[in-house]
């Protein structure tokens, strides 16, 4: 779905109202009271009239209408739909909590829950380390090289996920895949990446290696480049260097960036079932089955729309808990 990565949660406060070029025109007016009176009169009346003009709010309506119809309404319908059993043709039937129960007791639930937790935790670990390391490297490059490297890492962010997944499908291919050829070059036999139940989940995580080209990289880079320069110089003069400086000076100042990257990355992986759908379809066995894919299959292959929405609701609640937990855990210290 569109803007999936951007569709993260609201974190912290929205942009505060900032007035650019503060004071300049006002100051000029204030210094000449008579002129101010004659000039400010109509201006103020006009702006007050406009400000009170309720009709102005009409401008928000087209946008509100779009999100109301295509985001809020479906969201509400999904939360309600989980309580109804519906195959899309006959009349929906109210079944209370039984579909939620059905999911919890389904034979695949255990595997799905385990897989999605492993995927999210593994993804957060490898992507945050990779993106932060890359951002530190780029920030410490000489200026010209740094901006070239930044653009080189930013460009693959826009690759359609399907292309990335397909290219990795080629890498994983057990007979003439690239990884297999690399293993062969060292005289080794390459593993059956996606067909091995112990390796399949790891393979899903491997897609996109080295995981730098993601929004998280730009977030970290922006944070590192905005660190207060005096503080960096002061800590360098104090002899702090390397890991110590990073741990005690850089990292605490970058908590807001970590928080955004953590939440965006976690929510992305929690609902991202496209690689599983295209590469393994949940297999081998249930080794890569995830809740999102189950939801998709129930709705669009088994016509169990109500049951699908019940799974969707549970996934949504899990993501909400994850977000609130992370926001508390990585609270900015004041």
């Amino acid at each position: 779905m569109p803007l999936a990565m951007a569709g993260g949660p609201a974190i912290g406060t929205p942009a505060s109202r900032t007035t650019a070029y503060p004071g300049q025109p006002h100051a000029g007016l204030a210094r000449t009271p008579p002129a101010r009176k004659t000039r400010r009169g109509p201006l103020a009346r006009r702006s007050r009239r406009f400000g009170l003009n309720r009709a102005a709010a009409v401008f928000v309506l087209p946008s509100m209408l779009l999100i109301g119809m295509f985001t809020y309404y479906p969201a509400v319908r999904s939360l309600i739909g989980g309580f109804y059993s519906w195959n899309g043709f006959s009349a929906p039937q109210y079944v209370g909590l039984s579909q939620f129960n059905e999911y919890f007791t389904s034979p695949t639930f255990g595997a799905e829950a385990k897989n999605v937790v492993l995927l999210v935790l593994g993804w957060l670990l490898i992507t945050l380390v990779a993106q932060f390391t890359a951002a530190e490297v780029v920030a410490h490059l000489p200026r010209r090289l740094g901006s070239i490297a930044k653009y080189l890492f930013a460009l693959p962010i826009v690759l359609p996920p399907v292309v990335l997944i397909d290219v990795w499908a080629y890498m994983f291919n057990p007979t003439d895949g690239l990884l297999d050829k690399i293993f062969n070059a060292f005289g080794l036999a390459g593993p059956n990446w996606l067909g091995n139940e112990h390796l399949a989940l790891v393979s899903i995580l491997l897609i996109g290696f080295p995981w730098i080209s993601n929004l998280g990289f730009l977030i970290f880079l922006g944070g590192i480049q905005n660190l207060p320069q005096e503080l960096m110089e002061a800590s360098a003069l104090d002899g702090a260097s390397g890991l110590r400086r990073w741990l005690h000076v850089d990292a605490p100042l970058l908590v807001p960036q970590f928080r955004v990257a953590f939440i965006l990355g976690g929510l992305y992986m929690a609902q991202n079932f496209v690689p599983v759908l295209l590469l393994t379809n949940g297999g081998p066995g249930n080794a890569t089955m995830v809740p999102g894919l189950d939801m998709y299959q129930q709705a669009f292959q088994n016509d169990q729309y109500g049951y699908g929405m019940a799974i969707g609701t549970l996934l949504f609640i899990a993501m909400l808990v994850f977000t609130l937990f992370t926001m508390r855990l990585l609270r900015p210290r004041t």
Binding site: L3, A10, T19, F70, F153, P156, V158, V162, V167, K181
Partner: protein, 290 residues
Amino acid sequence: MAQLENVRVRRGARRRRRALTGSTVTAGALLVAMTYFPLVFMLSNSLKSGARLATGNVFALFTQFDARNYVDAWSGIDTSLLNTLLVAAASVAIGVTVAAIGAYTFAQVDFRGKSLVFTAYIALLMIPWSLTLIPLFLEMKDFGFYNSWWALILPYAATSQPLLVLIFRSFFEQVPKEVLQSARLDGAREYQVLLRVVAPLTKPILLTGTVLMCISIWGDYIWPEVILKSSSRYTVSAGLQYFVSSLGTLTANGGEVFAAYVIAIAPLLLLVGVTMRYFVGGMTAGSLKL
């Protein structure tokens, strides 16, 4: 003496820093190489014939330049590329216009309940696409939009709203109020103020919004696959997958598959490459506003 000591220390520091720069450059080059190596192989394979790809050495990069793959691949995905252009143009026209009008109202006009309405936008970012996927599908069926362009265009325009309104608003707020007031005093209507004064001043962010929408439409696979019945209407991600899976095994059809990947991403990389400066700035600014 102390001065001499100082100079020596500083020289040492400079030497250390130069060594550090050297290893940083090496690390950066290594990371870039790791990021791009799948793409390099994709490009190299797309230029090899089937026989060469099946039996030849895959590590012999760019040893054959056979453009026939591109001709074959183009005929497989040209329709979906054109579909994507159509859908993206319509979605951007609706989405960016509506978001700009809304963001302008939030930034420059006061009305009762404004903060409440704005909170509704921010709350929207909490709604994941997986929650709305099934009900949106049912809703589109109710509207009779199943298998139609509108089923793509309207949701794309809608889902882009929260992010676009957020980033547009913060840029529109930086237009000095005095500039707007003087335009109003000259008799400009509100829509003229937005069109003639605000929009030209904030072109980069409007462009960023357009690019962000194009990227997400280009990359969307699930929604077109679910809501469209005829594969002839697929946009590029779904169309590419349809074409590639119709070809079967990878190497049997030579580089055709890889050529299709290259064709599918080339227009997007071109668009983003040209607007990179705006795109990186807008994306970073937008994400930190969250």
